[in-house]
């Protein structure tokens, strides 16, 4: 018969804590009924622990498992894929709670927990997530520890502290393994996480899109330049080129059935594309770490090229990624800031696309454009004329009034209040109406320098829309109408371009970004940025290349022998340190003063030729003295008597008496 095993209280408590911590961040990916199943299993388990409910019967268990499997199937429709697998794992993790009858089952639940903890990293790898998972792993370790502690020594906090010590002692060795253990690269194809809601700049632009986006304080990407950082007017991070206009919304041009440009996946642009580009000077080289966008397009300064083999080129010299960016993505870019793109001529189809305006929209603007173009005489003069009009009496605002069907007409001639997308859209419409090829470009503009580590942080708030116009002999030129209205936006960011009242609207009390004026908080913010940046560079992105670089500098050369030796030596050093800690640690329970006196008494007895036996109680000792050494009997029985009285809680000078009695030992025999 298997003895009845009651899971210790502290183990159960920590198991439930760990389970809560593990499931919470997964909740958005899990079906809603999981919450219900979770509630039931936890309540049932607690009731089992309290002895109020029995374990579920086998048929009940079968029913529950079937229900959960059906629920998962109806939620995900399949079992291949990360989300359903995580769902299955978590369900098993929950249901196993109802089955814990033996010590072994507790171990299995904890092990399942370790696995669930790992799956969290498939979705998020930030520093915060890592610390969070470290906490849950410690909780799981505490649960394991709890079942292996002696009864009477199971206190939740003491166990947690001990488990924390174990984890802390493991960290240095983990670090050594992390640095040294070779990375093999993907062994076989694995399912990737599903696409989630895209963030950042979207693939179309309508009035109001950007003013919503810029209220987001989140980081869009970080950039490290190999050399100097170019001044803000050059920091136009191109993302998408929008050429299709339906009167209200701008979208990517349509090629056949697909929107978007054709992509060349070779590292070098096609010869045919290359011939349309002229560059002068040395390229600017930099690394971009893009936060997940769930989209294919990447951001870069024009005119970009990349030697990264996961990155492709479009004809308009944008960079795209082969897979949607669903986790942090780092790519290398070379940009020629001095360039001429398609300077020679545009093909007929290109020309048609970049001049197209839908019929019947914005009649007043079209008419005004033709009139001004005729007056101006040259495209250059015409562009200046339009920009001058913007400069005169337009307001750059986060909260533009609503626009009617003829959105550009309404904006240009009535409301005259708008955000970057209004200016870009209106400008391009004015250009096309006058017969100048033009298009909208969306992306980010600017970026904040982190002076501690010299990298640029570009936020969602830096999202921007501008335009490109094509001039014969000069190619595509960037024209930013927003710069004409609010030059401060380009030079020093959004906050300085808005009225103080509007700038306040952007402040989020929960974001450190809002407290830039406080030096201390701003210092903390900059440091956190650096931490997150280093985390990405050295932990998330620690790959074979970085590894061999680091090992080369540490070991001189990367040979299997040296790597093995480094591993062994670091392992030995860590173990020696832990061993020394173990040997020195621990607290000796302070000896009771009575016990101390009793020990002294035993020593005195020994010096009088009477050796006490190990494990002998005071009474047996006294009895033995009486029969073997009667001359000591009087003293010994007095001491023993007094000691026992002291032990059994008699108050009032017993300790003093004992001390005196021990001191008054009869003299030694000669």
């Amino acid at each position: 018969m298997i003895p009845v095993f009651q899971i210790p209280r502290n183990s159960l408590v920590w198991l439930l804590v760990a389970q809560t911590l593990l499931i919470l961040p997964h909740l958005p990916r899990l079906p809603v009924w999981i919450l219900f199943a979770w509630f039931i299993t936890v309540v049932w388990r607690v009731q089992i622990f309290r002895g109020l409910w029995p374990f579920p019967r086998p048929w009940v268990k079968v029913m529950i498992v079937l229900l959960c499997v059906m629920g998962l199937l109806s939620e995900y429709g399949r079992f291949f894929g990360i989300e359903p697998m995580v769902g299955l794992l978590i369900t098993a993790f929950l249901l196993k709670l109802l089955e814990m009858r033996q010590k072994r089952d507790v171990l299995i639940v904890a092990f399942l927990g370790f696995f669930v903890a790992a799956t969290q990293f498939l979705f998020s790898q930030t520093l915060l997530t890592t610390l969070y998972i470290l906490l849950t792993v410690t909780a799981l370790t505490t649960a394991l520890l709890g079942v292996h502690q002696s009864e009477g020594h199971r206190y939740p906090w003491r166990s947690f502290k001990l488990a924390g010590t174990l984890i802390a002692q493991s960290l240095p060795l983990m670090l050594a393994l992390f640095i040294i253990m070779p990375r093999l690269g993907s062994l076989w194809a694995v399912p990737q996480p599903e696409q989630r809601a895209a963030t950042g700049v979207s693939d179309s632009m309508a009035p109001g899109d950007f003013s919503r986006l810029v209220q987001d304080k989140a980081t869009a990407f970080r950039v490290t330049f190999d050399g100097d950082i170019p001044p803000p007017p050059f920091l136009y991070w191109r993302g998408l080129v929008l050429s299709d206009f339906d009167g209200r919304r701008w979208q990517q041009a349509r090629f056949g059935r697909f929107r978007g440009d054709s992509v060349n996946w070779n590292n070098e642009p096609l010869e045919q594309w290359r011939s349309t580009v002229e560059t002068t000077g040395e390229p600017l080289s930099y690394q971009v770490i893009l936060e997940p966008t769930q989209q294919h397009w990447l951001y870069a300064l024009p005119l970009a090229s990349s030697s990264d083999e996961r990155v492709g080129f479009t004809r308009d010299y944008r960079l795209v990624s082969r897979l949607p960016v669903n986790s942090r993505y780092q790519y290398q870019v070379d940009s020629h800031l001095n360039y001429r793109l398609q300077a020679q001529a545009l093909s007929g189809s290109d020309l048609g696309r970049e001049l197209y305006l839908p019929d019947g929209f914005n009649p007043r603007s079209v008419q005004q454009a033709r009139q001004w173009f005729a007056q101006a005489g040259s495209p250059r003069a015409y562009i200046d004329r339009v920009l001058a009009y913007f400069t005169r009496d337009f307001t750059y605002t986060l909260e533009p009034p609503l626009l009617g069907q003829h959105s550009v007409d309404d904006f240009l001639w009535q409301t005259k209040r708008g955000f970057c997308e209004h200016f870009a859209s209106a400008f391009v419409v004015m250009m096309r109406a006058a017969g100048i090829p033009a298009r909208v470009v969306v992306g980010y503009q600017g970026g904040a320098l982190n002076p501690l580590k010299n990298f640029l942080v570009v936020r969602q708030a830096d999202a921007h829309a501008w335009s490109e116009v094509w001039l014969e002999g000069e190619g595509w030129l960037r024209v930013d109408p927003t710069a004409a209205v609010a030059p401060g936006r380009i030079e020093s960011g959004l906050d300085s371009a808005l009225s103080p009242a509007e700038a306040e609207l952007l402040d989020d009390p929960f974001s450190l970004e809002s407290y830039r004026s406080f030096a201390l908080l701003d210092g903390i913010r900059l440091r956190l940025e650096v931490l997150e940046y280093d985390w990405h560079q050295w932990v998330m992105n620690y790959d074979q290349q970085k590894q061999s670089g680091l090992l080369n500098s540490l070991l001189g050369a990367v040979t299997p022998g040296r790597v093995a030796a480094a591993l062994l030596i670091s392992g030995f050093v860590v173990l020696a340190a832990v061993g020394a800690m173990l040997a020195l640690s621990g607290r000796r329970a302070p000896l009771d003063p009575g016990d101390k006196l009793y020990r002294r008494f035993l020593r005195r007895l020994k010096s009088r030729g009477f050796q006490h036996h190990p494990g002998e109680g005071p009474r047996t000792l006294a009895k033995r003295v009486k029969s073997e050494r009667p001359e000591l009997n009087a003293w010994v029985s007095q001491v023993v008597n007094s000691y026992e009285r002291y032990r059994y809680g008699e108050e009032g000078g017993q300790l003093e008496l004992l001390r005196r009695l021990v001191r008054e030992a009869p003299s030694r025999r000669i």
Binding site: F114, F115, L122, Q125, T130, H148, S170, L177, V578, G579
Partner: protein, 339 residues
């Protein structure tokens, strides 16, 4: 099945090898010579888990999953130290074994003490494969622990090796030692009910004795007490009108009980010993004195705990002592005769 028997075979071999390394001693300190450490079943599952995490981390090229796998490897290695030091340095001392009746569990008392400041948690002690005793030395530095071992046969019983084991702190490693504590347990025969104490027989025996030996045993007269047998009433004196007296025979005054091997004729040796053992137990519950007669040896009547122990010891070692001492001088083996 095949795997299991192979594992058992391996374990037996390991034990033989380990046992040869440690001479028997009543006091032993655990150190790297006596301690063995190996992943437990759960530990092997833990290693499989780490491998799976490593595969996930490698395939997803996810450094943090890999880091978790490495953390668990490190935890495993650090736990080796913790499990080992939970036992290392412990001192075990045999305090003594209480004799037991065959088939019962014998209590062996051990003093377990630690040196150093570190507490020891969740230590299991057991003889052979028998049930373990849980022990911890956290706030105290020494403890007396009674470990029970089921006995077989009578005579000197060797409980085998003391198993001391710990899976603290995480249960993924098992550290153990098998110590020969040089322990002998005196096992009494298994008591078997043998009917009422042989009092009547003792009286008749005495009667026979008195007739055979005549007046030698005659001690004198004493006044009649109700209950004195009428055979001993001094009728002659009564007839002279001197009152009622009993003749007092010294042998007869002897109300002591003899538990005699010969009463149990017809049974084999072990059956007789078992019944004598039962009688000794019964007799000890009364105030009566009793003696023991076995072929070639005997125990004069007496009473009290020491007397009972002596009697039981005689029964336990009957016709075994000689064989036993010769066996002990060589390598000690289990010496109990089976009932």
């Amino acid at each position: 099945m095949i795997f299991q028997s192979a594992a058992n075979d391996l374990r037996a071999r390991l034990h033989r090898w380990a046992d040869a390394r440690r001479p028997p001693a009543a006091s032993q300190q655990l150190n790297h010579h006596s301690l063995f450490i190996f992943p437990s079943g759960a530990g092997l599952v833990f290693l499989v888990l780490i491998t799976m995490l490593w595969l996930v981390g490698t395939n997803y090229e996810n450094n943090l999953v890999l880091a978790l796998a490495f953390l668990l490897i490190a935890l495993f290695i650090v736990t080796i130290l913790h499990t080992f030091t939970n036992l290392a340095g412990l001192k075990l001392q045999l305090l003594g074994a209480r004799p037991a009746f065959s088939g019962e569990s014998a209590e062996v008392r051990l003093l377990v003490s630690r040196s150093g400041k570190r507490g020891r948690d969740n230590i299991l002690l057991g003889w052979g494969e028998s049930e373990e005793q849980v022990l911890s030395l956290i706030d105290e530095s020494e403890k007396i622990v009674s470990v029970y071992v089921p006995t077989r046969g009578r005579g000197w019983f060797d409980p085998g090796r003391l198993r001391i084991e710990s899976r603290f702190p995480l249960g993924i490693l098992r550290c153990w030692a098998r110590l020969d504590m040089d322990c002998r347990i005196l096992v009494y025969p298994r008591p078997i009910a043998a009917g009422p104490l042989p009092v009547a027989q003792a009286i008749r025996e005495d009667g026979d004795l008195s007739t055979a030996r005549g007046a030698d045993e005659f001690a004198g007269y004493r006044s009649y007490q109700p209950g004195d047998t009428l055979r001993n009433v001094a009728w002659k004196q009564y007839a002279r009108g001197m009152g009622l007296y009993s003749r007092d025979y010294s042998a007869f005054v002897d109300t002591r009980l003899w538990l005699d091997w010969d009463y149990l004729a017809g049974l084999d040796r072990e059956a007789r010993l078992s019944r004598l053992c039962w009688w000794v137990q019964q007799a000890s519950k009364t105030e009566a004195e009793y003696g023991l007669r076995l072929p070639g040896q005997g125990l004069d009547p007496g009473r009290g705990g020491a007397h009972q122990e002596q009697a039981l010891r005689m029964l336990a070692l009957f016709e075994l002592e000689a064989a036993d001492s010769s066996a002990r001088s060589g390598k000690r083996k289990s010496t109990g005769a089976t009932t």
